[in-house]
Amino acid sequence: MITFRRFVSSKGVLIGALVIVLLFLLGFLGPVISPWTPTQVDYLSIRSAPSAAHWWGTNRIGQDVFAQTTYGLRKSLIIGLVVALFSTVLASLAGAAAGYLGGWTDRVLRFCIDLLLIFPGFLVISMVSTRLKGAGWLVFALLLGVLGWMISARIVRSMTLSLKERDFVRAAELMGVRRSRIIARHILPNVASFLIIDTTIAVGGAVMSETALSYFGFGVQPPDVSLGTLIADGTEAAIGYPWMFYFAAGLLIVFVLAVSLVGDGLRDALDPTSEAARPKRGTVTALPRAEAPPADVVLSVRDLSVRFGDAVAVDSVSWDLRRGEVLGVVGESGSGKSVTALAAMGLLPATATVEGSVRLGDTELIGAGVRTLMEVRGARVAMVFQDPLSAFTPVYRIGVQIAEALRAHTDLSREEAHARAVELLRSVGIPEPERRAESYPHEFSGGMRQRAMIAMAIANDPDVILADEPTTALDVTVQAQVLDLLRKAQRETGAAMVLVSHDLGVIAGIADRVAVMNKGVVVEEGTVEEVFARPKEPYTKDLLAAVPRLDAVVEPREPARGAPLVEVTGLTKTFPLTRGSAFKRRVGTVYAVSGVDLAVRPGETLGLVGESGSGKTTTLFEIMRMPGVAEDAQVVFQDPMSSLDPRMTVGEIIAEPLRARGLPVDGVPELFGQVGLQAEHASRFPHQFSGGQRQRIGIARALSVRPKLVVLDEPVSALDVTVQAGILDLLVRLRDELGLAYLFVSHDLAVVRQISDRVSVMYLGRTVETGDTATVLGEPLHPYTRALISAVPIPDPAVERTREHLLLPGDPPSPFERHQGCAFRGRCPVYAALGAGDRQRCETVPPAHEERRPGHLVACHFAQDGVSTS
């Protein structure tokens, strides 16, 4: 495997392994080939230097140093191995039990670990050493093991905890796999690589502890010898008779060094993100250009190429950004959109090799010096990044971070910069900006963070704003707010903007021109109207054809009949909100779901939509836990990587639900074909498949036990549009062939429109509207549904730019509070327009989810006919 090759290709590892082998040979053969035994005394040569008779000389009473040292080495090695194995076993058992079982087991174990940590092991061992005299080295070694497992146990515990949260463990639980089997098949194999490394490194540590204790007379007892006792004996004589000291001391250091080299190499080999796995440092070369860019072009990219090691990320990309225009850069994941933007700013990591030219006016940015880049960054070109949580330094207040951007380019004083930062926050619509400037990033919601990011970007009135997926991490109603703000900011500052996005709808709404990227190449460029209406390149055509549209017309299927497969009314689920690690205290309640009604009939697809945190996944898990449901239902998860155990072959993965029920597994090859995979690939591992193929594996696993209902949790959200289209087609085909019912959860209304017969909309843990897909999405009655629909961008500039957009204020409220009356009130435009008397109803009476028109249920006191979106 690759990892093994990487492992042995490291020089340090090879040398280390070789040294370890040699030392073991020396320790185990030395005493055998030596003409002397360790305790034998040669009265004729006392303190004699190395010679033919005594290869490494003799000590102060005439014992042979070679015999003694090799014997001592063997003892130290054996003790080291015993200690390391014993403590690793203890650590993995304790850690896995504490992590997986939780509760009291966990608390007691953690207390024991902390207790052992405040007792230095050497104190304990020396204390009991008087009792151990005569008990032999094995007892000593076991004791060392008992006192040395805590830190590894902590690590195993936290690894287990995070594994428990992984989708593949949840998947196994939902399939009904037994706990013991989950620990054996899913938890331990995934902790194994850490344990191997840990044992290796622990051998070195154990040898160090053993020698130290023996040195001070608390470990191995004379006449037995170990490296520690030999070093102790030799210390006084080290200057006059170096051979009595340095052979033992040298072997000790060399052994531990070799072990840590191998341990480090193992870690690198098993960790794909380790330094050793990363490519080496790259170079940056500016290519000269034939002519200067035209006068109205502010930013001009020519023949830009970026490589990471051998992998080409961007291949000879060119585009121009004209004054005041918005250039949309669109493409699927990994097509090189972000890398292009970062290269322009000189912000790629040192591993990148960059070639080409990026001109900002007259300034060449590729290969520019630090001074030039500092003057450009933030002042003439500002950036807005995708994930606003990780893009702010977590330890500084928002106001300080914005002020820093100001002070980098002006000579404002600290106070002036702060005052200006508050103004900027106000201008991007942050309520109470004085107070909010004092907040830390984690205290902001996603939308507020992105507003603050935009405030920072416009702080120095830049010529160019580079926005890299500025709304991808946001909910669709918040995305609409932020896009609106970006548009305003761009118009007011007159800056030109590059907007990088994978979302054709976003581009359609905001861009003047668009560049389509695929595999590092710009395949097509033109005005947004042209490219969307008359795409020239096959890739662009495919892309446009693959995007699901909210305004698409979908033929309705026959209404489903029969008793529902599942049905819930008023479903609620709360989680305790806890604080503290040692003593968990309950500080509140998360009202994850507080009133969900839904029913799925045989053969029918119900789409469940809602923004993040609205309780969709909790609803699914609650439904799966209902008695009787698990027999007929199977789950497909959102992230196809994390829902497949990386250490199982896909054949085993697909067969797992069958095995859990004790059914025969001979139907598995057929399943491969059914989902469009090759049965020959059954022995491969998940990482050898693409994202779309992995999702097919997840679907095959769900189908293996012939369920009547498949619950799909955002099954296509992690996939690119073209891949997504393939999976949706597959789902439709399987549904028709097998007569399946789907409960299809998604935040993406366009996808839901395409596949669902009926739709159910959730807001803050409640069902607010349910009905036929065409009715709910075409004639929504609930104000939230209407806002949601209007916020979804339509990938067609002609439609998107003429649509009426209904912006909701604020963020979804917190699920930590109990809400009186209607939970949507704070953002509801209908409520805002009501008179005081009517408002009171919304404030005090929670609206019931009831039928307003045949088959169309709405939870709003003032539901009214909405405007159709198409």
């Binding site: 207390f111 207790l115 940590l117 405040i118 007792f119 230095p120 050497f122 104190l123 020396s126 204390m127 009991v128 050493s129 008087t130 009792r131 070195g204 160090m208 020698t211 130290a212 040195y215 001070f216 070093i231 000291f245 001391a249 000790l252 250091i253 531990v256 060094l257 840590s260 080299l261 330094e275 080496k280 912000l347 040192a350 630090v370 500092m374 450009v376 960054r377 933030g378 002042a379 500002a382 950036m383 990044f385 994930d387 990780s390 893009a391 702010f392 330094t393 977590p394 330890v395 500084y396 820093e404 951007a405 980098a408 380019h409 830390y440 984690h442 990011m453 604080r579 040692a582 003593f583």
Partner: protein, 326 residues
Amino acid sequence: MLGYLGRRAGYYVVLLLTAVFISYALATASMNPRAYFEGRRPQPPAAMVDAQLTELGINDKVPFLERFGTWAGHAVTGDLGRTIDDTSVNDEFGRRIGVSLRLLILGTLVGTVVGVLAGAWGAIRQYRFSDRAVTVVSFVLLSTPVFLLATLLKIGTTWLNDNVVHLIDFTGETTPGLQGGFLVHLGDRAAHLLLPTLSIALGTIAAYSRYQRATMLDVLASDYLRTALAKGIHPRTAMLRHGLRTALVPMTTFFAFGFLGIFTGAAFTERIFGWHGMGDWFMNAVNRNDVNSVVAVNLFAAVVILLSGFVADVLLAVLDPRVRNA
């Protein structure tokens, strides 16, 4: 923040009390003070040995819990009992604690500060020769146990003193009978501190620099460092103000674990350089079956380790607003 620290402190007190009880139990179970008295020549009569043991509160004929109760009753008033030579444990404690704390505090400070700086510097200079050199040196230091490092330093200095030029004296804390003013004495003390401090600090520097380098590398690849650079501040400022500052947060955890190693190393170092600190006391006491002294050192160890844990908690809360608000 105060709530968070208060809870941690409460937990630590529970841990401490348990630790003290267990160490008392272990010490009484494994040591045999009776043998110490009976081993005297001429051998004292049994009744006298009994009387002596009872007087010191370590008579194994008294039930364990009763003995512990008596000891604990005194301990809560601040009296840690008598040593096996019938002197006050408190007095001995007072004499030795300063010696140990000097070494511990200096070793920790030097080790932490130099280690953090070396690690951060290595991360910034990744792929360069200097980073590799630091890496190699720290690997060698990490592979040398403290007792051996101290011994090697001692042997090396002795050799230099005898064969090249007399550099420094290092046995004990001071040169006995030294004449001269305040500065002479101060210099003498500093010279004596040098080798023991190095023995503890070198390994700590190596360990912390590895951790710091790793956390710093993570931070250097982070989105927020990119944002900081994108504002147009100097890369060096960004690395210090945004990079190093944030990379210090996870170090607080290593700091708590690392102190255990420093404590052990300091105990060994004292012994090797002839400092009469707590570690030296402990080893003597074990060899002489001096239960009360052994328990006193255990108490000291538990308290300083918990204190270091508490300092780590405070540092974490100071460094990370996310913890502070929790």
